[in-house]
């Protein structure tokens, strides 16, 4: 499996943003679009997700991926230096890497060429230390059971699991994509019955958002 870096960048507009003239806000958004255009061959943007109404800590989240972390970081720094960057805070930022899972390849949906869905549900998580000390066969059975539950919701729910070990506070970063929030609720509810939940230590924050193209998504706040 070809490894790629992923970045989920959660942004919140400062109160200063709403005090700016509409014209200046439009120019600032267009500057961000130009930055992404200049990284077109280096950094992919899976989507821009408007979080309004789901969580108060975040306004919009960008989901990026690329072969080199440097490119993703440089792009984010360019945003910070831009006019737009003056008016945002980043309450959360998560970097991950695509790798085969322990018991199967389990590629991300974007890696196998699935188109983005209307909604995203992202959360990072950590398993308990006890989980990693279980015998391999038991971990395999737990993950298999978890996967079987999730498979019931395919293709309504796309899954994207990446490694976060050492790149941040979390071990795993999981993104669901769906066109149907009702199915998402059913899926997450059903996954609560998986025995692997006994070994879940922390799984927050949840960030849920509606998919937009970049300019359209950022313009929702203009």
């Amino acid at each position: 499996m070809q490894e790629q870096f992923t970045a989920h960048l959660a942004m919140k507009f400062t109160p200063e943003w709403s005090r700016q003239e509409k014209k200046e806000k439009i120019t600032a958004v267009q500057e961000v679009v130009s930055i992404f255009d200049s990284y077109e061959d280096k950094v992919g943007l899976r989507g821009t997700y408007v979080v309004q109404g789901f969580q108060g800590h975040t306004d919009v989240m960008l989901w990026m991926f690329g072969d080199r972390f440097e490119d993703i970081q440089d792009l984010q720094l360019a945003i910070r230096r831009s006019t737009f960057g003056k008016y945002i805070e980043t309450p959360h930022a998560f970097t991950g890497i695509t790798k085969p899972f322990e018991f199967s390849e389990h590629p991300t949906s974007f890696a196998v060429g699935m188109v983005p869905r209307r909604y995203l549900c992202f959360y990072p998580f950590i398993r308990t230390p006890e989980y990693y000390l279980l015998p391999k066969w038991e971990r395999k059975a737990l993950i298999g059971d978890h996967g079987d539950i999730g498979h019931e919701f395919v293709p309504d729910i796309l899954t994207n699991g990446v490694y976060g070990f050492g790149l941040g506070d979390y071990e795993w970063l999981l993104t669901f994509e769906t066109n149907d929030l009702g199915r998402l609720v059913d899926c997450v509810r059903k996954l609560r019955e998986s025995k692997s939940r006994l070994y879940m230590q922390d799984e927050h924050p949840f960030i849920v958002g509606r998919y937009f193209e970049l300019e359209d998504g950022l313009s929702q706040y203009v």
């Binding site: 390849e105 890696a111 196998v112």
Partner: protein, 162 residues
């Protein structure tokens, strides 16, 4: 690289459908060739068929075989399997994309939910049409076959009314 190739090819296939109306997708070229919709259905059917073959072969204890040039197998497959047009009927673009997603995320993904790319290269089967072939090469066949039909779609697009 297997997954990257599968993803890259699928994105190209989806891009090749951009801007085409449902009528375009279902219009058969006058020379009796397939409509783009039929080509897409054929791509989906092939992906499902190959995946089922691989899933059947996964539990076997077959050994490793030499890597093959899979591109050479496509003509053989096409002349054998593609004699009759897929019975698609009129399908909208949304329905075709749904079929592509089903074959990709419900079928192909199930292979990668069971095993790794490296394990696929370690296993083989005696395929009726291809002979001895590794399971990895069979999955390679999916994206190379899809690539072949992207070219086919581009050709077909030239015959569509403006």
């Amino acid at each position: 690289m297997l997954i990257a190739n599968l993803g890259r090819t699928r994105r190209k296939l989806l891009a090749s459908l951009d801007g085409l109306s449902d009528e375009h997708l279902n219009k058969s070229p006058s020379n009796g060739r397939w409509s783009i919709g039929q080509i897409v259905c054929h791509v989906c059917n092939t992906e499902k068929g190959i995946v089922e073959t691989v899933l059947d072969a996964l539990p076997s204890t077959s050994g490793k075989v030499e890597e093959r040039d899979v591109s050479l197998l496509i003509e053989r497959y096409e002349s054998n399997e593609a004699k009759t047009a897929p019975q698609a009927g009129f399908l909208t673009k949304a329905e075709l994309i749904r079929l592509l997603e089903e074959s990709r995320f419900k079928y192909l993904q199930s292979v990668f939910n069971k095993t790794h790319e490296s394990s696929l290269a370690e296993k083989s089967m005696d395929h009726l049409l291809f002979g001895k072939i590794s399971l990895k090469n069979l999955i390679d066949f999916i994206w190379l076959h899809e690539q072949y039909h992207i070219d086919h779609i581009e050709e077909t697009k030239k015959s569509l009314p403006k």
